[in-house]
Symmetry: C2
Subunit: 347 residues, 2 copies
């Protein structure tokens, strides 16, 4: 057992404050990681505030974790002390169902184990995440971080990165495809970078000309203002793929109109009902809408290796742990380009 310093939300308040606890000793396949950086994901805030129910206080959030291996269990073969590693949204799954066998641990039929606030099948408690100086994670859920990446800016790859990478790859986005990224936030800015690096012709679809200009700097080739009906009509039936990162319920029909025959729009942000999706629009040209959840471990490693080759990281604002509550307020106002990352040396 070793002592862990963390920032956590207690049940009496959703603010985060210093917290310490004991963490289990290493099992044979465990890796002890000294955390260097942890990104702030909007879902951290939802859990801390118990927006989705089920918060098990004290909640130690954080699933965009970068660190150095401190120690390894007796059976660990792929990592050694000193390695730079990452941990994303998952720390366990059954590893015995069809989804796990296919490398899609996030869709585990027996329920994956989230990095925080999830029932921990090993300890019996609830998992605690990356706003902490240490974490213990099973070897098969630890990722290798390419040496050339800025480690602070690599942290958000573990959630915002893989959440957009996975659908772009699964739906086979390729060179020359006309790809639209809807919404420019933490997810959208990674999607623009990835789709651009994959060789697609990238259109940022947004209501904001300013965000459009920002997206160009990230790699977008074109801007389409979704509140301009003439422009939207000009792009009818023209997109090979749409990635919809809007984080709230909305009217999906104007976007569906943009899809080519047989093309797909994938939702990665909206966890709420959509307004009056018109199946006539799907029927008219055999269009598809789908959803996608983060990504599996194998594809997360592929994404990280791709980022190493193409020197892709997130655009981040690094903060001290003491500023995390202020950062939460800014995230809720969408006032960040595009991800806060906590420097854990300030803990």
């Amino acid at each position: 057992m070793y002592p862990v310093k963390a920032y956590a939300a207690a049940s009496s308040s959703s603010d985060l404050a210093p917290y310490s606890f004991e963490r289990r000793d290493l099992l044979a396949d465990d890796i002890l990681i000294d955390i260097l950086y942890c990104g702030i994901c909007h879902s951290d805030i939802h859990v801390v505030h118990n927006d989705w129910g089920g918060a098990q206080y004290p909640v130690v959030p954080g699933h965009e974790i970068i660190g150095k291996v401190k120690a390894v269990g007796s059976g660990v073969t792929k990592f050694q002390p000193g390695d730079t590693v990452g941990v994303g949204c998952l720390v366990d799954s059954c590893q015995d169902c069809d989804s796990c066998h296919s490398g899609y641990e996030q869709y585990c039929s027996n329920g994956n184990t989230g990095t925080y606030n999830a029932p921990d099948k090993i300890s019996g408690g609830y998992t605690k995440g990356g706003y902490s100086d240490k974490i213990v994670v099973k070897e098969s859920f630890v990722l290798r971080i390419p040496d050339n990446l800025d480690l602070r800016a690599a942290a958000p790859l573990l959630c915002a990165g893989i959440t957009t990478w996975s659908p772009l790859k699964h739906w086979n986005v390729k060179r020359g495809d006309k790809v639209g990224i809807i919404g420019l936030g933490g997810l959208g800015h990674m999607a623009v970078k990835f789709a651009h690096a994959m060789g697609a012709e990238v259109t940022m679809i947004t209501t904001s000309p300013e965000k459009g200009a920002d997206a160009r700097k990230l790699g977008a080739d074109k801007i389409l203002l979704s509140n301009d009906p003439v422009a939207m009509k000009q792009h009818s039936h023209s997109f090979d793929f749409l990635l919809n990162t809007i984080p709230v319920g909305h009217d999906p029909n104007p976007y569906i109109m943009l899809l080519k025959r047989d093309a797909t729009m994938v939702f990665v942000g909206a966890l709420e009902p959509l307004r009056d999706l018109n199946s006539r629009l799907l029927i008219g040209k055999r269009k598809n809408v789908a959803g996608s959840l983060i990504g599996g471990i194998r594809e997360t490693q592929e994404m990280l290796d791709f980022c190493g080759q193409h020197n892709i990281v997130s655009d981040v604002e690094v903060i001290a742990m003491q500023d995390v509550n202020k950062a939460y307020e800014r995230v809720m106002k969408a006032d960040v380009k595009y991800r806060f990352v906590i420097d854990m040396s300030t803990l």
Copy 2:
């Protein structure tokens, strides 16, 4: 020019009544067909009543047409007088776009020509359909009907058949798949027959135990009552494919729950907004929803050949032309198992 007897709706009334007009002489690639039978599709009623707008009276409905070739144009090579043929929902398309080249004339980028009430690119008027003694159709939109089929019961294959066949084939339904057919009407009853003949394990999903029992006679292996929440929960995440034939807007979420990871539900009936489709359900297991519109000419011929091999036809009630207005009333009350077919000798 030759005289044509038909039943048509005039602008002053949506009832159908005898009507006669002159039809153009044959062009080189035209086929003149003596119509034997024509099915009644619910969309006939919508157009006659101008429910969707755009009705061009007099409307001669009918796009489930079976007949005999009476004469052929000078350039026709695939058909000769006496052949038994069919005409479905399409009589023309640009035949020069990506969709047409792919055999998907129904999705023609330049707009297909429907069998009735559509601008006729050749005559300049509006097409007139199968409630008629004759029709002239371009060779490439005429289908061959297998000799062994009951011609009266084959008529609905041209719309209800292909509308359900096309998505079952496109989404690769195969032996052993767990397939759910939602709704038992003209479309649903064909879907049950096809999915059964393809070797799938077919579940009829309906609110009505009586319809469930009827579906068993058509080939369904199992019944799932969608208003039984316990049964619905037992089938969560278990279907490889769902074909949704519900003809009106509805809550799609309980059905989405039934899909396996990566599986698809296809809408073929609802031309209206769906209620609050929850993208969280799509995201949770990378599920898909899509739409599908009738089918192309090549796949319609494949469907007809399959029907010949497996002796599949629709379950029909044959009526005289004079009873068509009464039949419309019964269709609107869903009081038909499962398709009315007009015997054109009564015209």
